[in-house]
Amino acid sequence: MNGAGKTAWYLLLAVAALTLPTVPFLQPYLTQFAFLWVMILLALTWDIMGGQMGYNSFGNIVYFGVGMYTTAVVQRDLFFSVEEYAEVAGGVDAALNPLEFISSLALGMGLGAVLSVLIAAILGSGILGLRGHYFAICTLGLGIAAGEIASGMDYIGAGSGLVTSLLPDAFGERGRFFYYLFLVLAVITFLVLRRVYDSRFGLAINAIRDDEDKAEALGLHTTRYKTTAWCISAFFLALTGGAFGNMVIFIDPTDVAFAGPTFGVWMVLMAILGGKGTLWGPVIGATIFHVMQEVFWTFLFGWQRVALGLLIVIVVVFFPEGVVGWLRERWPHRFGEVVDEDARRLQVSLDSEP
């Protein structure tokens, strides 16, 4: 794709995304579209670790949950004392006015993101020393442990969950509000990652993926790069989680916040389905998966997770390089890869003066 074509594509996508909520017959589905942006965010943030750096994490969901709970708690406690809240018992009086809502949402998301980055930095310095399957299974344990611990903490509602603040009417329709919120977040995340992958950092984490021992032998600060990668992932994931809690209104510790078996696995599957280690792969994978998942949940109710398990097996076994990976194999030159057969066959010569 040449530069002008690319720009045209981006513009087209931007216009489509911005005008979609105005299409009348799509109105009832705006929440689903908002959900699509969330899925894209999940896949994009997972891919920093799993795709670009080769550290397959099953525990990124921790940051999603931390962001969600932090935001919910800030919204709960910023303008009401806990006693007051208990008195009205979640009644209408506890609803925030628009200014309170938006300021507490921003503050909560910000705090959640900072907290997640701190957790990632602390955990990362230890857990990122593990390699390969030890890392994968350790993070799996981490995600589930977080959910179990949250289920036991009374301060955040323990196993019975937490109801988040309702969106004030002043912001209009709920679906539309969250559609734009997550669209903005997804676009920012995408652009930041595009910039980051294009830098020294991008090459460094790719090098760690290809051969970490070699990267160390060349003097790369591997620990610093790995921890930073996890922090970036945690940052955007916590923002996503924070807003997500408000969209779904009710936070269950193991089914929504630290939902390892659903979101935690989906983010991995989506990135692989689209093509891990590529910028657009997670976006495409999330889109395909979201459509499939809606179909499963609509037509296979009760059996949807059976179908999901089957889908994981099929994708992983038969399609591990994903959509973008497959397209790249077929039309490499379209992905900026130079396939110069002459260069490939050329014999190296060292005799002549270079």
Binding site: S199, L203, N206, K214, R224, G277
Partner: protein, 247 residues
């Protein structure tokens, strides 16, 4: 000439098997030093000890006066002591230019430079060095698609990109097309003379090492057996015995 690397009475055992026993040697600055010995004589173990791949049991390793045996591999590399691998290691899914770019010296990295892009001079130097090892026409190919010998040349170029003071080369000519070997010897000598990199080379090919090194150490059964200039070592009865299996 000052000494750049000083290995003193280094011992290393794996389980009960002694791989190195009280090995002492030194590498003077600006020299090309050879390390030979039959298979299993502990050459690669010694390299691994020097660059911090595993802890040593006893002894001391000093690089430009600084004790290395407590430092970790990346720290040692950032001080300008680099090694290449016997089983070549490159970043297979990245192209040759990217492999070169990420090999820049990392001593001055900071949080600020982490997200910077590589500037023109880095890319220029990468291309220059790829020309130097004859890989320039292949610079946009994925490194993993190169042949073994070409990967070896790429790894050498990546090492040069890192601007080391001392470079440990583990069998640089193994797997290289025989028609290229003379060219490679020339490149090694030029890396030494023009870029001022001290070389410490493990080599099995006697013709190569005799041509290349000015001083040679010979290991056998983990111990230092002999040392001297190429002629001395070549004619040393103990070395001949070790290679023929009598030692």
């Amino acid at each position: 000439m000052s000494t750049v690397l000083e290995v003193e009475k280094v011992s290393k055992a794996f389980g009960g098997v002694v791989a190195n026993r009280e090995v002492s040697l030194s590498v003077p600055e600006g020299a090309i030093i050879g390390l030979i010995g039959p298979n299993g004589s502990g050459k690669t173990t010694l390299f691994n000890s020097i660059v911090g791949y595993h802890p040593i049991d006893a002894g001391s390793i000093r690089f430009r006066g600084e004790e290395l045996s407590r430092l970790r591999t990346p720290q040692i590399a950032r001080r300008g002591l680099l090694r290449t691998f016997q089983q070549t290691r490159i970043f297979g899914k990245m192209n040759c230019i990217e492999n070169m770019q990420i090999s820049v010296p990392h001593a001055d990295d900071s949080l600020g430079t982490m997200f910077s892009r590589f500037d023109e001079s880095v890319t220029g130097r990468a291309e220059q060095l790829l020309k130097f090892v004859g890989l320039y026409p292949k610079r946009y190919l994925r490194a993993g698609d190169l042949s073994f010998g070409q990967q070896k040349l790429l790894e050498f170029a990546m090492a040069l990109m890192n601007k080391p003071k001392l470079l440990l080369l583990d069998e640089p000519t193994a797997g290289i097309n025989p028609t290229l070997i003379n060219g490679l010897i020339d490149r090694l000598k030029r890396a030494n003379a023009e870029f001022g990199i001290t070389l410490f080379v493990i080599e099995h090919n006697m013709r190569v090492i005799m041509n290349l090194a000015e001083h040679i150490y010979c290991l056998a059964h983990g111990e230092l057996l002999a040392e001297g200039d190429p002629d001395q070592v070549q004619n040393d009865q103990r070395v001949i015995g070790a290679y023929l299996g009598a030692g």
